[in-house]
Symmetry: C2
Subunit: 289 residues, 2 copies
């Protein structure tokens, strides 16, 4: 997906928010915003929004001499989600259709996001879980069920810390022995890395690989050769979150995108209302090739 003009004010706002998170120095905030404005003035709009977000966060990490300024936030999100785990498991056990419930919970966990919403509280997360059956799930669950049953290998692209605890339940439903879980190669925002996958206990049930990149999405041209090989060989790819959707929506692979529509640009692009829970196959979504 390209970067829409409407993404630009949002990227500037996110840069300011992130600059304030890594430093209390107003002069630094100003310098970061000015830098990002100049970059944005010359940016290639054919690239997806995570390209600019990656550039912004690389700069912030250099400035604050901290390669993972969101570490504490991620640890907090993992703990918050883990404290809900038994409740999530109970919901799953009680569900008539466990695959559907696992999909719904995995999407509900996608509210944990620092890029767009700033932060999510435990109360908001609990509310998202309690409403999980009331949300309209747009997409094709039966097509997904069929794709899952046929696939010998499934590559599961995680999105955020905290959310990855919710992903664990879906990974188990997909059959862990077929699943490889992929996380970001380096810290970026609150996106899940190997550390977060381990915090969620996923290393005990599934193979974990990283994609070799620090983009808040999956920019294949930046990913490791090994990741790209796994990406191309997987029978089925499950891609979580808007970042993975924005970066992979034009890829002609067998990908199901699971995410919550969190911003007006994605709402416009997909033709789906803000807040929609999406389980969309590439061919279902309007942006697919």
């Amino acid at each position: 997906m390209k970067t829409y003009l409407d993404c630009i004010p949002c990227l500037i706002r996110q840069a300011l928010h992130a600059a304030r998170m890594v430093s209390t120095d107003p002069a630094l905030h100003t310098s970061v915003v000015r830098q990002v404005l100049r970059w944005a003035g010359d940016m290639d709009l054919r690239q997806p929004p995570p390209v600019m977000a990656q550039r912004i966060h690389r700069r912030l990490r250099t400035i604050c001499l901290n390669d993972d300024p969101y570490r504490l936030a991620k640890q907090h999100q993992n703990r918050m989600a883990l404290s809900l785990l038994s409740e999530l498991e109970a919901k799953l056990v009680a569900a008539f259709d466990r695959l559907e419930m696992a999909v719904r919970l995995a999407i509900a966990g996608n509210v944990i996001d620092l890029g767009i919403n700033g932060s999510v509280t435990e109360a908001e997360l609990r509310q998202s879980v309690s409403r999980v059956l009331d949300e309209s799930l747009v997409g094709d669950l039966e097509k997904f069920r069929k794709a899952v049953s046929k696939a010998r290998s499934i590559l599961y692209l995680a999105d955020n810390a905290g959310e990855i605890v919710f992903d664990r339940l879906l990974v188990e439903q997909l059959g862990n022995e077929r699943v490889t879980l992929a996380v970001r190669g380096f810290p970026i925002l609150n996106d899940a890395t190997s550390e977060d996958a381990r915090a969620a206990g996923l290393h005990e049930i599934v193979e974990i690989i990283d994609n070799g990149s620090d983009a808040p999405g999956t920019l294949l041209e930046q990913c490791s050769a090994e990741f790209v090989r796994r990406f191309n060989q997987a029978d089925l790819i499950v891609a979580k979150g808007q970042g993975n959707f924005e970066t992979l929506s034009d890829e002609p692979r067998n990908i199901f995108f699971l995410f919550k529509v969190k911003c007006p640009v994605i709402a416009n692009h997909t033709g789906l209302p803000l807040g929609t829970h999406v389980l969309g196959h590439g061919s279902f979504l309007p942006c697919s090739p």
Copy 2:
């Protein structure tokens, strides 16, 4: 008031919105946004936000070869407000305290804004009027009443088209013979010009002057010598709207600012919640010198 870093994403968003209003050409939208990003990267943040807004709208007027792209919108807003006039007058006649009611109505009319909210519907305007007594009015009405009773000359700085119909009622309460109404010197956004003041019938009851400038606020250094003379000589100045507040809040004159807090930056700057109706004397507001 200076331009806060948080104003910048909003200025970019407003520029995009305005570019879409004056043209349907996506290439032009992109070129305007890129231009504004570059300006914003180098902008002097000590200046108030209307300085950048003025620059953006000057550029748009040149591009679309139209010196008043908001004319139709303003005419619509004037008609919408005029259709409520008899209702507003009835409210005023029935009021126990007519000055207070006129102040409340004048602030209620400040919801008509194209800069921040995009547009306001007649239903929203009616709602704003019907709730006029429920809104918390923060400021010092008694101080205002005293200042009005003492003043021999009052300069009333109008804000937007449509809103100026609401201003008419307050102008009448202030005593038209003492009041001079000042409007923008040239069209900018939906800000009121002489044409709008006449549409609201104000030319029949009060002297109208213009400030000689096309800023969406009052940048004294750009105003005509005659306007500045009137500004300096008036016993009391009534300044409507955020734009006048942003540009005059540091002026050491006897100014009462009447506006609705419409954005988080003004909320932070004044320490008042979003949506607050303000009748603030310079000395009351935290930003005053």
